[in-house]
């Protein structure tokens, strides 16, 4: 498929770093061409007043330079990029649905343009991460198509951004403005995070080691046994239960002499522990001005105090730069990682993987002895999760004189994800289970670009870049699962290579799946930059992208972007002593949005879609494969075209009082247009919906970041207070086909309202008797819920439209599952060779549905049927929330009083967390060290760090951060652990 003869074009992102590393002059760098981030003073030997602060210049993109080895950034024990960024960049919201090491995290830059109706939607809103010019792969969610339950993605479900070792990062640039990110093309529609790794230092050989160790602390939880649960249920039976109901009283609560349930609730001794964490990274760099290299290797172990969950990471990174000819630069990078996960042991996740539920009458016992027996059976299972990632490039840059240069780059990214598991029959009524999942994704990119720059009369500078790229993506998985192997010793579902017959498991109970997706993206672009006296800068970008996922008739999308920057200081405030620097900027850009699957390019199509609820993978009748229109998936017609995002931004950057106060303010309005939505429609033609373009969502808001240094830099005592906060509101502007509102599952979208709202009934208490239920004034029919007359013990739902029927028309849109405001406050102090810092992470204006509590009250419905709702984890025996907040409804009522689509369980999910406290001591700066005049260590720094210490929240349940994509706190998710580490950094 790849034609190596063909040469494609590139734009480069971090060439400046290489160039500077090669000891080139600043002039050469200027000519280096279209580096989207070269406006930013990063990694370029630039002096940073405080290495941990965010820098902005004439843009609202946030740059974080971690190249400094001290302070909060550099000593955080966070494994992944999203965790590192969390709260620290205005406008970037990072949500951790679980503290489990290595699991997927969600990043949102300036809100979400897609309403979340399925976990898949999360994948459509993640920003692009660019590692040294390589746009990294993000996982494809297509495996959800074969999943019966979508709690977690099939396979290893790794957060692949764990692949980047924080120690290797020189700087991170978060590009939020569409006018800036447009150069990266359609993958950049959700913003871009540009990661530049540390580069070789030409002048001297250099060795750096960072090593830390520590532990995660076992949380304090209050447990309960069956007595508490019994007492909790008693009032319901006393008030509403009949003798027949009492006869059905659950067996595990019935016998108060049973030590398994009524004994001491000490399961936590087996479930929680203090666990060790550690990290080490060593790097060496060296060489000469015309050839140099850097090599870095690292290992990290991340752990959670709960459920023995952990992740190990091994990383290696190698880069080499050469100038074989004076006009030719060759650079190569290889960046690899291996990740391994020890996963949680949730029953839900295990049953979901097995697609089978055992009898659930007796839950796990809260007692250590019984629970320990279960765990020892569980330990006989096998659950191996691995992921590998390798990215790299080979880059040629030719300088043809002062004005013209060419760059050519071949880059690739490859990730694979493997999960092998086996559960013994003792865990599932004698049926063992084996499954194997292998997936790999690869991306190959051919890039070529030409750059031209010139200046005249000293005041005018012009730069022109043009380029072309072809990106080839391939995503594939193989998944096989099997039930009922002959015994628990054979843990592998082996297939005979010759006959293709299974060796051990019965062939009727072996299920195989494979799927692949290809995505190709071809792009052409040209950009013109003009600057006058370096005060006014104007840039114009035009690009066109063709995607293989768009139908041939509308395959190409032309997108422009314009940017203006003005350094106002020399003109307006030349004489002002207060204002050091002030820059204003504005821009507008259009960015295409990639369609997620190759189905859309096919137009009307036939596929396998003959399944029913809870049986998603039926593909044959009478053993013959059937084909039909995609009734369950949704109709895909002709004329599906590119969605795109129009983004406007403006802002300013100020530095006051000799840099004591720096501030960056950015306002934006981005409107995602022509978005494709599966509109529920045409049931009468058999379809669950119809894919149609036309949804329009606007996100608007303000990002503010500021740093204040009350004390003059260079003092013995230094203090920097910083704040980063983003305010975001979204609004649905239009729906396909001129619709005003649609309902997808429990989500309701209404034009003019936000897309992230909950759709709930208003709850006003309880009807204590039938007489309290109002009667229709004419018909004298009592107020009813969808035709069911409300009774004593039913909720008092507000009849919004006064028709004496409570139904969907009485539901209101309220709350937001995404925060309106999120950000952080940091304080960093230095005293001599000590430094101390802490940060608070906060989110406001978000709501959480306490589903865990709703489930607790809805025990009648949940325990009556054998489905996923009836699963009780070991954490069932944990006290969370406040029972007294809720009325005692009749749990047997057919209106399902404890339903989640009412505001009874909707709570304020705002929080403030003390996320990180750091203290460090710079040994090499200390007087006693200096006096020794040791020649060896250039830098020696010891530090301690504590993370996730405190949470302040009005939320009555557990950690308000541990919610799923819909804003539901399901009670799942391992705690985000309190982590304490000590480390040392040594540079030679």
């Amino acid at each position: 498929m790849i034609t190596p003869v063909r040469i494609y074009c590139t734009f480069l992102t971090v060439l400046c770093l290489q160039m500077s590393a090669l000891g080139q002059s600043a002039g050469t760098k200027k000519a280096a061409g279209p580096q989207p981030d070269d406006e930013f003073p990063v990694g370029n030997g630039q002096k940073l007043a405080w290495k941990d602060t965010l820098l902005h210049k004439r843009s609202s993109s946030a740059v974080i330079a971690t190249s400094g080895s001290k302070g909060r950034w550099a000593s955080a024990p966070f494994a992944s990029l999203p965790q590192l960024l969390k709260g620290n960049v205005a406008g970037l919201y990072v949500q951790e649905p679980s503290g489990e090491p290595g699991t997927e995290l969600n990043m949102l830059i300036r809100g979400a343009a897609v309403p979340y109706t399925h976990r898949k939607n999360m994948f459509e809103t993640q920003p692009l991460v660019v590692l040294d010019g390589i746009p990294l792969l993000s996982p494809h969610p297509f495996v959800y198509d074969i999943q019966k339950y979508s709690y977690t993605r099939q396979g290893g479900a790794f957060e692949m951004l764990n692949r980047i070792d924080v120690n290797d990062i020189a700087s991170i640039t978060v590009i939020k403005d569409g006018s800036e990110s447009a150069i990266y093309g359609p993958r950049a529609v959700n913003g871009v995070i540009v990661v530049a790794t540390k580069q070789a230092t030409a002048k001297q050989n250099y060795i750096a080691v960072n090593s830390w160790f520590g532990w995660v602390q076992r949380p304090h939880v209050s447990t309960m046994n069956a007595l508490t649960e019994n007492n909790f249920r008693k009032p319901f039976y006393e008030k509403y239960g009949t003798a027949a109901d009492l006869r059905k009283y659950p067996a595990f609560l019935r016998d108060s002499t049973n030590p398994a349930y009524y004994g001491p609730a000490n399961w936590t001794d087996l479930y929680y522990r203090n666990a060790a964490v550690r990290g080490i990274n060593a790097s060496i760099s060296g060489g000469y001005p015309r050839a140099n290299f850097r090599l870095s290797i690292g290992n990290l172990r991340n752990a959670n105090p709960a459920d023995k969950a952990a992740m190990d990471r091994y990383t290696a990174s190698f880069s080499i730069n050469m100038m074989p000819l004076k006009w030719l630069t060759m650079s190569t990078l290889l960046n690899g990682a291996r990740l391994e996960r020890d996963r949680n042991t949730y029953l839900r996740d295990r049953f979901a993987e097995m697609r089978y539920l055992p009898d659930l009458v007796n839950p796990l016992s809260p007692n250590k002895d019984n629970y320990g027996r279960y765990r020892s059976e569980f330990d006989k299972s096998y659950d191996d999760n691995k992921a590998n990632a390798l990215a790299g490039f080979f880059r040629l840059k030719a300088d043809v004189g002062e004005a013209i240069s060419f760059t050519s780059q071949l880059s690739f990214d490859y990730t694979e994800d493997m999960r092998d598991m086996f559960f013994p029959g003792t865990l599932l009524e004698g049926n063992n289970f084996a499954s194997n999942y292998v997936s790999y994704n690869q991306r190959i990119i051919f890039d070529n670009a030409a750059h031209f720059s010139t200046t005249w009369k000293g005041d005018h500078a012009l730069r022109f870049d043009a380029g072309q790229s072809l990106q080839l993506d391939f995503y594939k998985y193989d998944y096989i699962y099997a039930y009922k192997g002959p015994n628990d010793r054979i843990k592998i579902n082996q297939i005979d290579n010759n006959t293709q017959n299974p060796k051990a498991f019965p062939y009727q109970l072996i299920y195989k799946f494979l799927d692949k997706e290809k995505l190709r993206l071809s792009s052409l672009y040209g950009r013109l930059n003009y600057s006058f006296k370096q005060q006014v800068e104007l840039s114009l970008l035009l690009r066109t992208d063709g995607s293989s996922n768009v139908q041939a008739s509308s395959r190409w999308l032309l997108t422009p972007a314009v940017n203006v920057k003005w350094d106002a200081k020399p003109v307006l405030f030349k004489s002002s002593r207060m204002i050091d620097d002030i820059a204003l900027f504005a821009g507008w850009g259009r960015v295409g949005r990639l369609l997620s699957t190759d189905r859309f390019a096919q137009g009307p199509q036939y596929t396998v879609d003959m399944s029913w609820s809870n049986e998603p993978v039926i593909s044959s009748y009478a053993g013959i494969s059937g084909l039909m229109r995609p009734y369950g998936y949704g109709y895909i017609g002709d004329g599906i075209s590119w969605p795109y995002s129009d983004q406007f931004n403006a802002g300013l950057n100020v530095s006051l009082a000799k840099g004591r106060l720096t501030m960056n303010v950015g306002v934006y309005s981005k409107t995602d247009k022509n978005m494709l939505l599966n509109v529920p429609a045409y049931s009468d033609y058999g379809y669950s919906g119809l894919f149609a373009n036309g949804m329009r969502v606007r996100n608007a808001g303000v990002d503010v970041s500021a740093a204040y240094q009350p004390l003059r830099p260079g003092n013995v005592i230094g203090w920097t207070a910083s704040v980063a906060a983003g305010y975001n509101r979204n609004k649905l502007m239009a729906l396909p086909g001129g619709l005003r509102e649609i309902t997808i599952g429990d989500r309701h979208l209404e034009v003019g309202r936000a897309i992230d709202q909950f759709w709930v009934l208003r709850n006003d208490g309880i009807y204590n008797s039938r007489e309290e239920v109002p009667l229709h004034p004419v018909s004298k029919i009592p107020l009813n819920y969808r035709g069911i007359a409300l009774e004593k013990g039913d909720p008092r739902w507000r009849d919004q439209n006064g028709d004496f029927v409570i139904n969907d028309k009485d539901k209101v849109l309220t709350g937001h599952y995404l925060p309106v405001v999120s950000g952080s406050i940091g304080n960093d102090f230095t005293y001599g060779c000590f430094n101390f810092g802490f940060s608070l992470y906060a989110a406001f204006g978000r709501s959480v549905v306490n589903k865990a509590m709703a489930d607790r009250f809805d025990f009648i419905n949940r325990e009556s049927s054998l489905d996923m709702n009836a699963v009780k984890e070991i954490t069932f025996w944990m006290k969370t929330g406040r029972d007294g907040n809720y009325p005692t409804y009749n749990p047997w009522s057919s209106v399902v009083p404890y339903r989640t689509d009412q505001d009874l369980f909707l709570e304020n999910g705002a929080f403030v967390k003390l996320r990180q406290v750091t203290i460090g001591y710079d040994v090499t700066k200390a007087g006693w060290w200096k006096r020794r005049k040791l020649k060896g260590p250039r830098n020696l720094y010891v530090y301690g760090n504590a993370a996730n210490l405190l949470t302040f929240t009005p939320y009555s349940g557990g950690d308000p951060e541990l919610v799923d994509f819909k804003g539901y706190d399901t009670g799942y998710g391992l705690p985000i652990p309190k982590t304490y580490t000590l480390g040392v950094k040594l540079e030679l």
């Binding site: 030719a398 060419f406 009727q508 052409l524 029913w612 494969s625 049931s683 009468d684």
Partner: protein, 511 residues
């Protein structure tokens, strides 16, 4: 010199760049998806008609299986089963069909039945293209395919009309240009169903791949064993026709159609099943595909079509048959003893001497516990030999000969042909060793026929429709007549469907 070198480099690089730009990439951007077949690649050969035909059966199976709706609609409502503790099933049984449980969102949604209709419409519109493109696709093959597809479309409409009453009538695929439609009167729908079924019946063979004059040679190159009990046959169509006619109150035609089935059963290799144990055996009547499954939808274990959900076993089985402590639904001991009152009944009867049930592996087991287990259908995995794994592969049998015999008896009784009605009734009574119906015994004939249906067909999805027909005949139960007259025998329409199509109104009974 240096300048010239520079210029040359510039030229070379520019040329390379230009080459890259112009050989652009449109060709690389055309990719055929591996998981779907675009319209341009379909309806090319007989393989496509086979896939589409089988797909339509698959959709019909999905429609009737989703949420166990075949039994929810046909068996549970006001039937003989009681819910153990599931409040949603209890609501179905008590007819509280507007209850707020999640189950009802699925049961009230008719989408899957319309998927069958749409798939059939597309087939009928496109099958001609295959005829043009593929010389191997014979006229006869096409005629039989079309007959089956028309049968399935009519069958799906029959379900729509008998569950929801008036429903939208969609007679073409409207592919890509969908338009919402209002409801059409159920009588018109049923008339359409009957005429379509008759047309289909005319073209359907008695059996497949057995050199039936209407289907010569191996159907789609598969032997008759492959198709036995899998596809709709001529008698399947007549059996459904008998039901359609009876539901319309047209008992004369019901009699004709059912008689055709009974008279021609040998031509399809069918016979009355004398072995009661065999009906309920795990490897018996309900297992796999068999010729005596007059019309059913299969779940072949050996083809990996066994499923955890969607079978009646999912609701009825429990310890000791499978590892599940309690069933979801059961028939109370009192009901069992009152329904199966005859001491000789081979389906279930109490030994008059010991007071113990005579058969513990047929219709019921665990009779002596508070919650007996209904175990007439129990195809656990392939043949029930391993109870540890709740994967079921029983065939969803819509009708079988014994049922048609009783329907024939009912039709004859209603049109006043008592003697032949009694004959037909006694066919089943003889099979199950129940004393023959004797004229003058004081037993009401209609009551006796329906009681026999109740015993023979329990758990096979007929009870509710029987009750409706019974009360339409008897007209002696005011409460039930109110249901019939006010549309309460029909289910409410899902809120989701009503939201999508503003031309639809909720069934007034459920407003």
């Amino acid at each position: 010199m240096i300048i010239r070198m520079k210029i040359r480099r510039t030229i070379i690089l520019t040329a390379l760049l230009a080459a890259g730009l112009t050989t652009g990439c449109n060709r690389e951007l055309d990719i055929d998806s591996t998981k779907t077949v675009g319209d341009k690649n379909f309806w090319r050969s007989y393989r496509d008609t086979r896939a589409a035909l089988v797909g339509t059966y698959g959709l019909m199976r999905a429609a009737l299986t989703d949420n166990g709706c075949f039994w929810m609609y046909g068996e549970l409502r006001m039937g003989d089963f009681t819910a153990v503790q599931r409040p949603d099933l209890d609501a179905v049984i008590k007819g509280k069909l507007n209850a707020a449980f999640p189950l009802f969102e699925g049961l009230t949604n008719w989408r899957r039945f319309y998927a069958v209709v749409n798939a059939a419409n597309i087939f009928l519109e496109k099958v001609g293209e295959v005829k043009q493109n593929d010389p191997k696709y014979s006229d006869q093959n096409m005629r039989v395919d079309i007959a089956q597809v028309r049968f399935l479309r009519a069958f799906s409409y029959f379900w729509l009309a008998s569950v929801w009453g008036d429903v939208p009538f969609v007679a073409s695929s409207h592919d890509g240009a969908f338009a919402n439609k209002p409801r059409t009167d159920k009588q018109k729908i049923l008339a359409f169903v009957e005429s379509e079924m008759l047309a289909a019946a005319a073209d359907l063979p008695f059996n497949y791949s057995t050199n039936d004059p209407q289907q010569l040679g191996d159907y789609y190159n598969e032997p008759s064993s492959r198709w036995m009990g899998v596809l709709a046959r001529k008698l399947s169509a007549y059996a459904v026709l008998a039901h359609v006619a009876a539901w319309r109150g047209d008992y004369r035609n019901a009699m004709t159609y059912s008689k055709f089935v009974l008279d021609n059963k040998e031509r399809s290799g069918m016979y009355y099943e004398p072995d009661t144990r065999w009906i309920s055996a795990a490897n018996g009547m309900f297992q796999g595909h068999k010729t005596n499954q007059l019309y059913g939808l299969n779940f072949e274990f050996d083809y990996q079509e066994g499923t955890f959900g969607g079978h009646f076993e999912e609701f009825t089985l429990a310890e000791p048959l499978v590892r599940k402590s309690l069933p979801d639904i059961y028939v109370t001991r009192d009901s069992i003893t009152s329904i199966f009152a005859s001491p000789l009944d081979t389906r279930f009867s109490i030994d008059t001497v010991t007071g113990q049930p005579k058969y513990t592996d047929r219709w019921f087991t665990n009779f002596n516990s508070e919650i007996p287990i209904f175990c007439k259908i129990k195809v656990i995995q392939k043949d029930g030999s391993d109870p540890s794994f709740r994967l079921y592969s029983s065939c969803l049998i819509y009708t079988r000969l014994e049922e048609i015999a009783l329907l024939n008896a009912e039709a004859l009784a209603v049109i006043g042909n008592r003697a032949e009605a009694i004959n037909s009734l006694n066919i089943v009574r003889d099979l199950r060793k129940v004393p023959r119906f004797a004229e003058g015994s004081g037993e009401d004939l209609i009551d006796a026929i329906f009681q026999e249906r109740r015993k023979e067909m329990i758990g096979e999805g007929h009870r509710w429709f029987d009750l409706v027909r019974y009360h339409r005949i008897k007209r002696n139960n005011p409460a039930f007549m109110k249901l019939i007259n006010n549309g309460g025998i029909y289910w409410p329409v899902a809120a989701e469907v009503l939201r999508q199509n503003p031309l639809l109104k909720q069934n007034p009974f459920w407003n």
